[in-house]
Each structure stands twice: as C-alpha cells, then as structure tokens.
C-alpha cells in the first residue's frame, strides 16, 4: 500500500518577474516501510519535493496524498497538526533547540506537539536515545556534543512521535563519512525495527548506495527511479 502518492505534481515559484518550475509533472508512489533516496544536482527539485511531501509547501498543480490524506487541501494549522502526527523531520544542520538538553530536544515533540503523558514520554525518549546511542549524553546541551551526535539526537527527535514517515533533507551533508554511514545505519535499523518510511535527499553517491529505492531528479523532472 502506498504511503505517498504523487500524481502530475508540479511546483512553480515566482522570483520577481520570472517563474521557476521547480517540479514538473512528477509521478511517484512510495510504499510503507521503504528506505528511499532522492538524488540529483543542486536545483533539481529534491528539497521542493521533500517540502511538499512534508506538508511544508503546497503544489501548484497535481495531487499529493500522504497517508491517504490529500495534503494540498490542508490549511496551515491542519498541516502543522498532520506533520506532528505523521511526519518526522531530520535536517541537514540538525536544528536542535540550543536551550534544551539532548533529552529535552527529543522530548519536545511529545511535550509541545503531541502532549504525551509524562511516563510514556520518558520511556519513549529513553528508548530512542538508547537506540541512537545517546542515552549517556542525555543531559548535555547541543553545543556540548559533536555533529554526528547532534544528528543522532535529531533522528531520535524525528522518531519519538512514532511517525509513519521521516523526511531527511541532506542528513549527512555536514558529517564526515564515518559518521554519515553510522547515521544512515541507525536510520535503516530503525526502519527495520519500527517499519518507518525514510525518505532522504543526498548528493553523496556512497550514501545513496545505502537506499533501497533511488529516484533521480533533474531540472524538476523525475528522470530515473526504482528499486536497486
């Protein structure tokens, strides 16, 4: 069953007087519990596609359903609530809250997005910190840990709400190779354990090789894709 289905998905931006077609008639279906990578040069539309799938943006035309919801019809508030329930995000720059500890960063979506009970929250956070190997760093602040550790915390934060889908835009771009592989390994392990769908974009060809399904975008068009 498809978790994501995009049909004739297009996105056009207006930059001053000119219109830029970021995505052109993209058709793609992504199954539940898959490990998908979108590759392509800068400006190929990877981030735009991820933003649309993440309900952060709306398509200019076409239909996009995520978890059986036509996300193009959601207003700002509904989209935020949908993201909080269904989608986790991992960012290139980790984007941890600097004023919160590792534990608090991971707990944040459960506190301010999902309002999970204290006991369950603690259990989930500790389990995930353990899963990403950050349990012993739980009381540290983001400035006290390395880039790789930050990204592991970001993965835990993305997963703590038990989302069906995790979107990661260039999650390894700011990491060295060894750390990047470790992060991808963690993502794959969690995908296998929890059945979460991971979609990530990357430039790194070696990292791309870790994906089960690879789609290539060029100038906003899906030029190649499928199971390896």
């Amino acid at each position: 069953m498809s978790l994501i289905a995009a049909r004739d998905l297009s996105k056009t931006y207006r930059m001053g007087e000119t219109e830029v077609e970021a995505l052109k008639q993209v058709n793609v279906e992504i199954e539940t519990s898959s490990f998908v990578s979108f590759v392509g040069p800068s400006g190929s539309g990877k981030t735009t596609l991820l933003n649309l799938m993440g309900c952060l943006d709306k398509p200019t035309s076409g239909v996009l359903t995520v978890d059986d919801t036509d996300v193009s019809k959601l207003d700002t508030r509904m989209a935020a609530a949908f993201r909080g329930r269904t989608i986790g995000f991992i960012f290139q720059d980790f984007n941890l809250m600097p004023v919160l500890t590792v534990y608090e960063n991971v707990a944040y979506p459960l506190v301010l997005v999902q309002k999970t009970g204290a006991r369950e929250r603690k259990q989930r956070v500790l389990d995930l910190l353990d899963a990403v190997g950050m349990a012993d760093q739980r009381d540290k602040y983001p400035y006290q840990i390395s880039g790789g550790q930050k990204q592991r915390v970001a993965i835990a934060r993305a997963l703590v709400t038990h989302p069906k889908l995790v979107l990661a835009d260039e999650p390894t771009a700011n990491l060295d190779h060894k750390t990047a592989y470790r992060v991808i390994d963690i993502m794959k392990r969690i995908k296998n354990e929890l059945g979460t769908t991971f979609i990530f974009s990357t430039h790194d060809q070696k990292i791309v090789g870790e994906a089960e399904i690879i789609y290539t975008l060029e100038d906003g068009e899906l030029v190649k894709g499928g199971v390896k």
Binding site: N51, G54, L56, D57, T76, R77, A80, A81, F82, R83, G84, R85, I87, G88, F89, F91, D93, N95, M97, P98, V99, L100, Y108, P109, V111, L112, V113, Q114, R157, A158, T161
Partner: protein, 412 residues
C-alpha cells in the same frame, strides 16, 4: 504551560546581558514610578489632611448663595435656628459623621489701641471646632490651647504686624447685618500658625462673643464644617447628605442649602489634580519604556531565532503554541522587571520614609513626608507592566507564529 515557561526562561538566559539590561530598564522605570507615586501621594494626602484638619473640614454646608459671596463674608446669608435644626437632624442621623462645627464668620476692624487693621474671624464653639479641625490646637504656637468667652486667638502674621502678644487686650469692631457698628474687647489667648488655603489666616473667638459683637438676637450660622470618620467615604457621605438636605427648599422654592466637599472650597484641589495628572504621565512614560524595551528585545529574539521557529513549525508545533512561546518570553521579562522593580521600589520608599524627610509648603515648615506604598498601587503598576509586556510581545509573537516554515528554515 510550564514547559513553555521553561523554554521562555532558558531563551531569556541565553542572552543574559540583553535580558538583564532590558529587565533593569523596566525595573528602574517601576522604581521611579513607585517612588514618584509614593512621594506625590504622600505629599497630596498630607496637604489635604493639613487643609481639612486645620480648618476646612471635609464637607461644608452653607445657606444657598453663601459660597458665591464667601470672600465678602456676608452676614445676610446665614442659617437661622430653624434651618440649622434641619441640618443638625440630618447630621445626627448619619453615623459616618465624626463631628461638626457651626461657625459665624465675619470681617471686622482689629485695634491694638495704637493701630487698626482688618481681620477675618470665626466664632466657634471650641469643643466642636477642635473635634472637627483636630489640627487647630497644634497650630496654636503661643498661649493657651483653649478658647474661653472673651478670648481671641490671632493669626501669627497679624499678631506680628500689630505687635500684639499673648495676654494683650485688643478690640474688634464689626458691622452687623443691619449696618450698625459694635465693638468688644478681647484678651489675646493664643497665636495661631498660618495654614495653607482659605481660612488659613483667620482668627478665632467664641461663638457667643461673635453673636455679641454682631448683636445677633437669634443664631445666624455662616457655615457648618463637617468631619467624617472615614475620609475615603467622602463622596458617598456627601451624596447621602445632599440627598437628605436637597429636598429642603427656601421660600422661593429653591434649595435652601448648598453643600461642598473640601475639593470645591480649596484651591489645593487643583494642585492635587495636577499631581494626579503628573502621576498619569509618569505612568505613561513607564508604559512607553516597557513597550519599547520589550518589543525591541522580542523583535530581536524572533529575528535571531528564525531557523528555530522554522524547525519547531516543521515538526508540527501549532502556530498558536509558537505565539504563546514568544508571548510567555516577553511576559516573563516584564514580570521579572516588575517584581525586581517593586521590591527595589518598596525598599527605597522604606528608606526614604526612615530618613524622615521634611518639606515646606507656603508658610508651613517642617512638614514631615510620611511615605507609604499602598498595595493597590503596587498591584496597578505590576498590572500595567505585565499587560504592556504582553502587548509588546504580541506583534513579534504573531509574526513568529505566521512565519513560513520553509522560508524560516532557509534563513541564514
């Protein structure tokens, strides 16, 4: 809510110096306003107390038309025994009234047998007058602190100018309501310190002496001064009294009496109103300080944390919660500033009070400034600061909540 507060406080601590500067600015503003309010209110209340307790009373009753001619001290506009009986009945029925004093006020000639000058006199029953104007005794700087028939208490400037001392004999000559002149010798029993306002330089004689000088066959009362048990009930008692006496009509079918609170009788009321106006403008300044400083900090906070706003929006934080996050931050800053300012303000007021500051007003010297800080003022200032903090944070918080997540995440 506690989690929002925790994040807000952590974010405030993140920029310690800026937070401290802004909170200090708010605190200094609060201290300034509290001290100003305390000093001005103490000055105002003390002066009102001086004026009402020295001679004016809290409320005065006259025959209709008397106050319009009050500078002439007309003898033809007095209250006769029948009219006074009605007033007395109304006053006796009101438990809020502490005391009242009937006065015969008149102007006359004053002679020390060498020189003659003008004098304004009050004929009073001393016991009633002292109950109504309790500061009267303390104004008697020389001589007996009492007034017997045949005695006169002279205002100090007149006594000094006429070179009259306690124990001297003087003559008062006055024209009565029929136009005939009469005089009487008096013994100077006391010298009275001047007080600010109308009546502050009047002399006193016994009520019966006034009747004798003016050859009154029946009592003709110029005014009735009233003192209340609780000054804060001035306007409610005044309204009740007005209602009670308002129905009394004279032969022309018009109200027989006119009632005035001290506010209508003393020019100091205008100074008091000016003080209130200044207090209002000082409060406005505080509002401006809080508004500008907190809005500035919150605008900067939003601008500096655009990527964080994008992140929390992306992971599903609802716009309302993002707005609340920044509102709580601004509010916390205001609350912190208000609390520190209140504590410092109260301490400074306490120290100023302990210093026993005195001041001069007109010819009155050594008036002790008794500072206090009513809780309602502390509450009011705190409410102003906290409300303005919330208002100042509202726009930046709203902007943060409406921020496009993608644009915010792209922000460098």
């Amino acid at each position: 809510m506690l989690d929002l507060l925790k994040i807000a406080l952590r974010n405030l601590l993140r920029y310690k110096r800026r937070t401290l500067l802004t909170a200090s600015l708010v605190s200094i503003g609060v201290v300034f306003v509290l001290v100003f309010i305390s000093v001005s209110a103490s000055f105002k209340h003390m002066m009102i107390g001086q004026i009402t307790d020295s001679f004016l009373g809290h409320i005065q009753i006259h025959r209709k038309g008397y106050v319009a001619s009050i500078d002439n001290l007309p003898l033809t506009l007095g209250l006769n025994p029948k009219a006074f009986a009605k007033v007395e009945k109304a006053l006796n029925e009101m438990p809020e009234i502490e005391a009242y004093s009937k006065r015969i006020k008149f102007g006359g000639m004053f002679s020390n047998f060498m020189e003659t000058t003008n004098i304004r006199l009050n004929g009073v029953y001393p016991d009633d007058e002292i109950k109504t104007s309790p500061l009267l005794l303390s104004r008697i700087t020389q001589g007996e602190k009492s007034l017997q028939p045949g005695d006169i208490i002279l205002p100090e400037l007149l006594a000094k100018g006429m070179k009259v001392k306690v124990g001297d004999t003087v003559v008062v000559i006055a024209t009565n309501r029929d136009g005939s002149v009469n005089g009487k010798q008096f013994l100077v029993s006391g010298i009275l310190e001047s007080a600010t306002g109308p009546g502050g330089r009047d002399g006193y004689i016994h009520f019966e002496d006034a009747q004798e000088v003016l050859r009154m066959e029946t009592m003709e009362i110029s005014e009735i001064a009233i003192r209340l048990k609780d000054f804060t009930k001035l306007h409610s008692v005044f309204a009740d009294l007005k209602e009670s006496l308002g129905a009394e009509l004279n032969q022309q079918g018009k109200p027989a009496f006119e009632l005035h609170t001290w506010e209508k009788l003393s020019p100091f009321y205008n100074i008091a109103k000016m003080i209130d106006l200044m207090t209002f403008f000082v409060k406005l300044m505080l509002m401006a300080i809080v508004l500008i400083s907190i809005m500035n900090v919150m605008v900067m906070a939003v601008y500096e944390r655009i990527r964080e706003i994008g992140t929390i929006a992306a992971i599903g934080t609802l716009p309302g919660k993002i707005m609340a996050m920044f509102l709580v931050e601004g509010l916390s800053l205001g609350v912190f500033g208000a609390v520190v300012g209140n504590v410092l303000g109260v301490v400074i007021i306490f120290l100023l009070d302990a210093a026993h500051l005195t001041f001069e007003f007109g010819r009155q010297k050594g008036l002790l400034l008794s500072l206090n800080m009513p809780l309602q003022d502390v509450f009011l200032i705190s409410t102003i600061v906290i409300t303005i903090s919330a208002l100042a944070s509202l726009h930046p918080a709203y902007k943060a909540s409406r921020m496009n997540a993608i644009d915010a995440l792209r922000h460098v």
